[in-house]
Symmetry: C2
Subunit: 231 residues, 2 copies
C-alpha cells in the first residue's frame, strides 16, 4: 500500500515561524533576528522554533512570541506552510508561518537563546534571509496586505491613540500609493473610532486630534448588523 513502512512516516519535524509586524516612523516593519547558531549562522531570519511533539501549532507560535517579546494574548494569524524536502539542511522540517501585529513602542524585544541581535526592518527593504525565509516573508506580507483591507488589524500596530494622518500613512506605506486626505477621512467614516479631547503636542503646526479604535463597538457592529470592515 505504501512504498515505505508506516513508522517511517514518523521521522519529520515541524517548526513555526512567527513574523511580527509593527509600525514606526511611517513604515511597517518586520522583526528579524540574527541567527547565533548553525545552520545559517549570522544570517538574518524570521523568528521561529521547532514545535514540541506534544504542542499544538498555535501554542508553539504563542510560546515563541512570548520568548521574544514577553507579550501574550496577541492576535496570531496563521499564514502558510512550506515543506520543500530540502528546505532545512538538518532533516525534514515543515514550517507553518504565523504573523502578529504589535506596537513597537510597547515593549523591548529581546534577543533570546537563538539570536544575539534583533532588528525592525521596513517590509519594503527585507535583506537576504536564511533558509527559504525570503519566500515565507514575501508570501506572508501579501497576506498581511490582504487582511489590512478587510480586518481592522492596523489598530494593533498603531499606538493606542493615533492621529488620522498616522492612520492614513500606514495604508499609504502598505499599498505604496498616496491618498487624498479629505477622501480618506470620508472613507473611514464607517469605522467605529473614539475621538479624544486630547491633542497632539510638541508639533510645530496645528495639533491633530487623537483617536482610538472602538473595539467593542466594532464587535457589536459585526454581530448585530452585517458589518464588514473595508479599506
Amino acid at each position: 500500500m505504501y512504498r515505505i513502512n508506516f513508522s517511517d512516516f514518523f521521522t519529520s519535524a515541524f517548526s513555526v515561524d512567527c513574523m511580527l509586524f509593527g509600525y514606526s516612523q511611517g513604515q511597517i516593519k518586520a522583526l528579524l533576528i540574527k541567527r547565533a547558531m548553525e545552520p545559517y549562522n549570522n544570517f538574518w531570519a524570521i523568528p521561529g522554533d521547532l514545535v514540541y511533539p506534544d504542542e499544538d501549532l498555535d501554542e508553539a507560535a504563542n510560546r515563541i512570541l512570548k520568548d521574544l517579546t514577553g507579550l501574550s494574548d496577541v492576535g496570531l494569524h496563521q499564514a502558510q506552510s512550506f515543506g520543500h524536502p530540502k528546505r532545512h539542511p538538518q532533516g525534514r522540517v515543515v514550517t507553518v508561518s504565523y504573523f502578529a501585529m504589535v506596537r513597537i513602542e510597547d515593549f523591548n524585544a529581546k534577543a533570546s537563546s537563538w539570536a544575539d541581535e534583533i532588528s525592525w526592518v521596513p517590509i519594503h527593504d527585507i535583506p537576504v534571509l536564511a533558509f527559504d525565509h525570503n519566500l515565507i516573508m514575501a508570501t506572508t506580507i501579501e497576506l498581511l496586505k490582504q487582511k489590512l483591507r478587510v480586518e481592522p488589524i492596523c489598530f494593533d500596530m498603531l499606538p493606542d491613540r493615533f492621529t488620522l494622518s498616522e492612520f492614513q500613512q500606514l495604508y499609504e506605506y502598505a499599498f505604496n500609493q498616496s491618498l487624498d486626505k479629505a477622501n480618506f477621512r470620508k472613507k473611514i467614516k464607517h469605522i467605529p473610532l473614539l475621538a479624544h479631547d486630547e491633542k497632539q503636542k510638541m508639533v510645530k503646526h496645528r495639533p491633530a486630534k487623537l483617536f482610538s479604535f472602538a473595539k467593542e463597538d466594532y464587535k457589536t457592529k459585526v454581530e448585530t448588523i452585517d458589518y464588514q470592515f473595508k479599506m
Copy 2:
C-alpha cells in the same frame, strides 16, 4: 536549550488533505470519501494521505488528486494547517489542507485503495466527518468563498461553456443570497468572457447564449493594466 533531545523532534508525520469542489445542479459540492480502514472506518472524510519524507507538500497534494480523479495540472490552493497533538489517534500528524476546483462531469472520480465509496456533497449539507475534518472543511469553505470574490476560480467549476444564469446561480448558492439578473450582468461586464454563437438546447423556454472564460485575455489584463477580478 530544549527540554527534549534534538532527534526527538523528528518523530512526527504530516498529511495532506485535498478538498475537491465542483458545481452541479445549482449547488457547489465537495468530494467526500467513505473510509475503508481504521481509524474512523466507515466515516465520511476528506480525501487525504500521508506525505512521504522526500515529497514536497504540493507534490503530495497533486498525487492524491491524480489517484482520485486521474487529473493533473489542476490549480491547487493551499488552505490551512491543523496540528492539534491529539487530532490523529495513531501518532502526531499535522495536516495541511489544499483545495482544487474541478468540473464534475469531466471525469469519474474513483474509489481508491483507502476508500470504497465516494460522494459529491453540497457544501451546505456536510455530514459528520472523521478526525477533525469538519473543522478543516468549514475553514476551507470560508477560504473558498473569499477566493471566489477576488479570483476567477468559479470558471474551473463551471462547464467550459456556460450560461450567464448558471454563472449567477453559482454565486447565489455560495453566498446564499439571490441576486438581481440585470445587475449581475452589469457587474460582470469587466470579466473577459467569450460569447459563442451556440445556444442552449432542449429547454422549454428561450435558449440562453453560451459563454466561456477568456483565460488568456484575463492573464493579459492582469499583467498589462492593474486589473483585479472582483465579485
